[in-house]
Amino acid sequence: MATLNIQGVTKAFGPTHVLHGIDLDVADGEMIVIVGASGCGKSTLLRIVAGLETASTGNVVIAGRNVTALEPAERDVAMVFQNYALYPHMSVFDNMAYGLKIRGLPRDDIAARVQEAANLLGIGALLERRPRQLSGGQRQRVAMGRAIVREPKLFLFDEPLSNLDAKLRVQMRAEIRRLQKRLGVTSLFVTHDQVEAMTLGDRLVVMHAGHAAQIATPMEIWARPADTYVASFIGSPAMNLFPATLEEGGHAARLDSNGLVLPFHDGPRPGPAGRKLTIGVRPEHLTPGQGGLELQVDLVEPLGGESVIHARLADGTEVTAKLPGSSYSDGALNVIIPLHTLHVFDGETGKRLEAGG
């Protein structure tokens, strides 16, 4: 149990810069999920914390101790890998015990710790088996067990759920979260799946092109995304983004697509009239009604209680709406944008623009 501080970590592979200075402070017992598209540097960041990669600049501090120059084994961290990385020739027991054996713990202690972790994970009956005799979910548990028995300061998860089928993934997700809360171990969890990120994390780090685009709680990221990338990455289906211009002395935006004027309900945005904006609206916030957007529906995905509607505006701009019920069909559909759900971003930088700022 410990805090983790990542201080100005950068990483370059030759001329390619993968991380451009990441700062992150993780509190004791906190579960941080690092989420981003592939190639955003999230795995590299995790591997730097693990010690499997060295940072080009910056420091990694675990429990107040600067571990930047230390080997992985000396950092007192445990990692769960995407492909589990179990030793194929060892039994489940030996897989979990190996790290402890190397540390030279007494045999009895090892057996007790492994047994305890195995019981916690419900794999007590599998200790004599080889990894290839296990199902994917069981292997996953063994990999977790191997991390738990070490009683590390920090858990690192590198997309551990992506090799499981959908149902098992949901189940293991809940299990990991429950376990992490119960053990109270500070954790970093890397994933590309935003649902996983939202449900698991105390806080999320949304990574984009080697930067931490936003670090905040899941709900804050959902409610107040820091830029258009975060806005479209978090939330499913993705947020609708419309190009627009600032109007009426900063009190409203005019959509470029159809000239619709949307007054800001919470106050004016700074800038000259005609400033480029991007207006964001989540699909689930659109509601049927006249006087808003006139859509031409080209695909309806019924989900039971609600439907995801893919449509276009007259000028071809794509719009996604998530509406209650399932009685939708291709053709014309009118929706309105509730004004309190608007997200306003700078049209050039993509950064969020707050009222009165």
């Binding site: 693990a50 961290v77 990385a85 030793y87 194929p88 020739h89 190397i102």
Partner: protein, 300 residues
């Protein structure tokens, strides 16, 4: 449905069934005849040697090729084992077998040890000149022993290793083939496994001992068989480097036993040949299960 079924089956005439079965029988017969011919082709010489080794020298001397066991078997094998060739001064087969065994085993163990460690270095570590090392090993694959045999002999003779075990073994002890095979196998070990071991605190030696060696067990067994047979069958190099009988290997011994036609004790030669066959056969049989496993599957 179950009532309809026999109605369809019944009209098929039994006569139509018969020729089809006969054709299968014919195909079966052909394959078996070919297989049997193959077996005879390979087994016959061994059978002749086996039978020849149980007759006295005169029988074979007359030009007979006995296909049934004779009565001199025990004597022939005992003579060969303890005395070797009786008409010329020579070493007993037991000595030659011992020499061959020492050479074959040390070559095999040496080749395995050297190639697995060098493959480990080339596959898992990055150091300056790594690819150079790899290519240097790889290119020697293309040089047959014969090409470098004279320089090698010069070196061995300058080092004073002619007629010694060292001279027999050391020039044959490195194997580019085995190194290459181990390297290819090591490259299939997932990076995550290496990293998991690092997180567990295993250093390079520990990782080698605890992870790499057990995972390579089947490969090692397969290579052991191949390399042992290779070492046992060595002919050209031992022929060059051994001139005294102390370190003579059995393959060389057999050749030396073949004197002029009339002077050759064929019964002893054949007994010696059979004895020479036994160790490689034993190794293959003992390690067959592992050998096949090593060639067909990898435990990952």
């Amino acid at each position: 449905m179950s009532q309809v079924q026999p109605a369809i089956a019944a009209p098929v005439p039994l006569a139509a069934e018969a020729p089809r079965r006969r054709r299968f029988l014919g195909a079966d017969l052909t394959t078996h005849v070919i297989l049997l011919l193959g077996v005879v082709l390979f087994a016959m010489p061994i059978w002749i040697v086996l039978m020849g080794s149980t007759h006295d020298a005169a029988t074979i001397g007359r030009g007979e090729v006995p296909l049934l066991p004779g009565s001199e078997g025990w004597n022939n094998y005992a003579t060969a084992w303890s005395e070797g060739n009786t008409r010329r001064a020579s070493v007993p087969v037991s000595t030659m077998m011992f020499n061959s065994a020492v050479m074959a085993l040390l070559i095999t163990v040496g080749k395995l040890a050297i190639s697995i460690t060098s493959a480990y270095a080339v596959a898992f570590f990055s150091f300056p000149g790594r690819m150079l090392c790899f290519w240097a090993i790889f290119i020697t694959l293309m040089l047959p022993v014969e090409v470098r045999i004279f320089p090698t002999f010069q070196v061995v003779s300058d080092l004073g290793m002619v007629n010694t075990y060292q001279g027999l073994i050391i020039p044959l002890i490195a194997s580019a083939t085995a190194t290459l095979l181990f390297r290819q196998f090591f490259l299939t070990i997932p990076d995550e496994l290496v990293e998991a071991a690092k997180m567990d605190g295993a250093g390079p030696m520990r990782f080698f001992k605890d992870i790499v060696l057990p995972l390579s067990a089947t490969n090692i067994a397969a290579l052991f068989v191949i390399l042992f047979v290779y070492g046992w069958n060595q002919y050209l190099w031992p022929l060059l480097v051994t001139t005294s009988t102390d370190v003579e290997t059995i393959v060389i011994g057999i050749v030396k036993m073949l004197g002029a036609e009339a002077d050759t004790e064929w019964n002893i030669v054949m007994a010696t040949t059979v004895l020479a066959l036994l160790p490689p056969v034993a190794v293959v049989i003992l390690m067959q299960r592992w050998f096949v496993k090593g060639l067909t599957e990898t435990e990952k």
